[in-house]
Amino acid sequence: MKIQVKIIGYLINQTGFSEKELQIPAAITAEELLSMIKIPKEMPKIITRNGNAISPLDKLKEGDRVVIAPLYSGG
């Protein structure tokens, strides 16, 4: 299935891209996506799907827009 992935801030250094459409296996979890795009598990982050925060164990769906950002604290 296809999802849109947007990477924010310094996490781009890990993935090497900031936004792209990805072809992924169906029913993959957010955590599995992180591993696919080389974002270390231990890096503090917030994952949102279509604007709402999700847990690493949540499964992704066709057409999702997944945004992965550092766990910002507001400067």
Partner: protein, 611 residues
């Protein structure tokens, strides 16, 4: 007493006199420094009701025991006064070489009183204080002023200065230092200008007294290196604070069009990636190994140092999506000595009021050239600029026609660059910030989205705001250090008691710090309640437009959603109860007593009812 110099310098501009005074160990331990010192001095020495722009107001420059010591990230200086913008307690902090130089000159605190008849600047060199003519620099921008002073005193001198905005007493003018640094959002620059004081220059040559100099030298140097290594490893400073812009756009928290909208399709044009790609230089504060001053060339070719707040408020909030133009507006604010956040808020409100038909004018969202013209007019108080110079609260009061609802401020201070029309806890953070709507004291958006339901108004959000106010608005503001290593890189809080204890010889833990924080928050609120005898909880509310269904996003992830007034009231109640303040948001008498503020409670009771 180690860690503190134990000295303050009191300068009177009316009589051109100065006096070195000492403060007690009890004062040092009770208020620690920075914001704590400034607040206590202003509470004790200002009569309620004085004109903030009159000679009775006092300008405070305050440092703390950690300030200026080589450790992460100790180059910050607190500036404070009664605010002409809000009428309440006002302060700010900025990176400056004043931090190191004032401590080395032998002072933790500077109190500037009175008013000079002619424009002056003050030169402090250890025990020597000179009042010098500022005729040659009065009327100049901050960049030219800094250059003029650097030529005389060298780049190592600590300098605080104001621009034309401060000279003309624009109510949101700031104090500036080291090119890109600014502080004192609630008009502390105007207070300096009202005293005819263009600049303060400091050179110090003494040793800062420290309990264990060898230990702090090693710990400080090691930790500065480690913080730098973490920054390099994560790559945080590649985008610095501006990384958050793209995220705010994704989660509907970006200020767009006077905060009418929460995201924009063109936001990517001004995000951290584009900023980093345009970078020509990077600047930072003293004792910093994670420098965040990303500098690009503006439309006119000036170097302009940008952070997220600048871009959010002067860019997306005005619907200006050309980075070089945003940089131009930022450069102008810096040169003129205007606060970038409030400038973006004021121009956004002005464009909105014109849009709504509440006022005539030819400024439209997206018009960068007109925005430049308006900033200059505001700084010089010429034409419409005199109106804009008052800040959005007073502008709305004059315009009327329900414009107060969308004047985006709390207590008179314009809201920083986070649009909370559907982020209840962050709205509370802005509303309870002790100087008006500033993000520096608590920021809980990722917590709200990740750890709670976005639309909840539970006690845990109020508790989180308080926890962060203790750390950000308390600890970092009174030991006086930059919060960024902790906030952005996860540098553990436990490092700070270690620095503090090594420097002072005391044995404090974080709980000791939180007690000081709570004391300071209670007295900051008491300061407001003493100035405003009719104080009630409505002053701790965000703007009405955030509760207005007609203002809900029409599309996107929060379409149709806004803050709920009744639930916000509950959230505010949680906050007050957790702080043991009354239902008006004034600290209860018993609370003040428990925080060691019995005398202050007696004083407050002369002006306001205490429960």
């Amino acid at each position: 007493m180690k860690g503190w110099t134990g000295n303050l310098l009191r300068i009177n501009l009316s009589s051109r006199t100065f006096k070195k005074e000492t403060f007690t160990e009890e004062f040092a331990k009770k208020w620690v420094g920075g914001r704590g010192f400034a607040l206590k001095i202003l509470w004790d020495e200002l009569k309620p009701g004085i004109d903030p722009l009159g000679p009775e107001n006092k300008l405070i420059v305050a440092l703390g025991p950690i300030a200026g010591i080589a450790a992460p990230n100790t180059g910050k200086t607190v500036v404070a006064a009664k605010s002409p913008l809000t009428g309440g307690y006002g302060d700010g902090n900025l990176g400056s070489r004043v931090t190191i130089n004032l401590r080395k000159a032998g002072y933790d605190l500077l109190i500037v009183e009175g008013k000079s008849e002619e424009p002056v600047y003050i030169m402090i060199e250890d025990e020597k204080v000179q009042f010098l003519s500022a005729q040659e620099i009065w009327g100049k921008g901050t960049y030219a002023t800094l250059d003029w002073l650097y030529k005389k005193y060298g780049k190592g001198a600590g300098i605080l200065t104001i621009g034309q905005g401060g000279e003309k007493k624009v109510l949101y003018s700031v104090i500036r230092s080291m090119e890109g640094r600014a502080g004192g959002r609630p008009g502390i620059g105007a207070v300096m200008g009202s005293k005819n004081l263009k600049a303060i220059v400091v050179k110090g040559s003494k040793e800062i007294p420290v309990a264990d100099p060898e230990a702090i030298k090693k710990i400080g140097a090691d930790d500065l290196r480690k913080v730098g290594e973490i920054d390099k490893k994560t790559g945080w400073s590649i985008q610095g604070t501006t990384g958050v812009l793209a995220w705010c756009n994704e989660v509907a928290a970006l200020p767009v069009r006077n905060m009418r909208k929460t995201s924009h399709k063109d936001a990517w044009r001004i995000d951290g990636e584009r900023l980093n790609a345009a970078r020509v230089a990077t600047y930072g504060c003293p004792h910093c190994t994670m420098r965040c001053g990303i500098t690009i060339l503006d439309k006119e070719g000036h170097q302009s140092e940008l952070d997220y707040e600048n871009i959010g408020m002067l860019g997306s909030n005005l619907e200006i999506f050309e980075l070089a133009q945003v940089a131009s507006l930022n450069y102008l604010c810096d040169d003129l000595g205007l606060d970038t956040i409030s400038s973006g808020g004021v121009l956004g409100f002005y464009a909105d009021a014109i849009d709504q038909g509440a006022i005539d004018g030819d400024f439209r969202f997206g018009d960068a050239e007109k925005a430049k013209e308006l900033l200059k007019l505001a700084a010089y108080r010429e034409g419409i600029g005199d109106f804009l110079a008052q800040g959005s609260m007073r502008m709305a009061q004059k315009i009327g026609k329900d414009s107060e609802a969308y004047a985006m401020h709390v207590k008179g201070l314009e809201i920083s660059a986070y649009n909370c029309k559907f982020i209840p806890g962050m709205a509370l953070a802005f509303a309870t910030s002790a100087i008006g709507a500033h993000h520096k004291e608590a920021w809980i958006i990722t917590f709200e989205l990740k750890e709670t339901a976005r639309d909840s108004y539970g006690k845990e959000k109020a508790q989180k705001v308080i926890d962060l106010q203790r750390i950000r608005g308390g600890l970092f503001e009174f030991i006086v250090a930059c919060r960024f290593p902790w906030i952005e890189l996860g540098w553990e809080l436990e490092h700070y008691p270690l620095y503090f204890n090594t420097i002072t010889g005391l044995n404090w833990n974080l709980d000791d710090f939180w007690k000081v924080s709570d004391r300071i928050y209670a007295l900051m609120k008491a300061f407001w309640a003493r100035e405003f005898p009719d104080w009630d909880r409505s002053k701790d509310y965000p703007p009405k437009v955030w509760f207005d269904p007609a203002n809900a996003d029409k599309e996107g992830i929060i379409a149709g959603k806004i803050l709920d007034l009744a639930k916000y009231d509950q959230l505010l109640d949680h906050y007050y109860k957790l702080r043991a303040w009354d239902s008006r948001g004034i600290p209860a008498k018993k609370t003040m007593k428990n925080l060691g503020l019995s005398q202050e409670a007696k004083e407050l009771a002369k002006y306001n009812r205490l429960e």
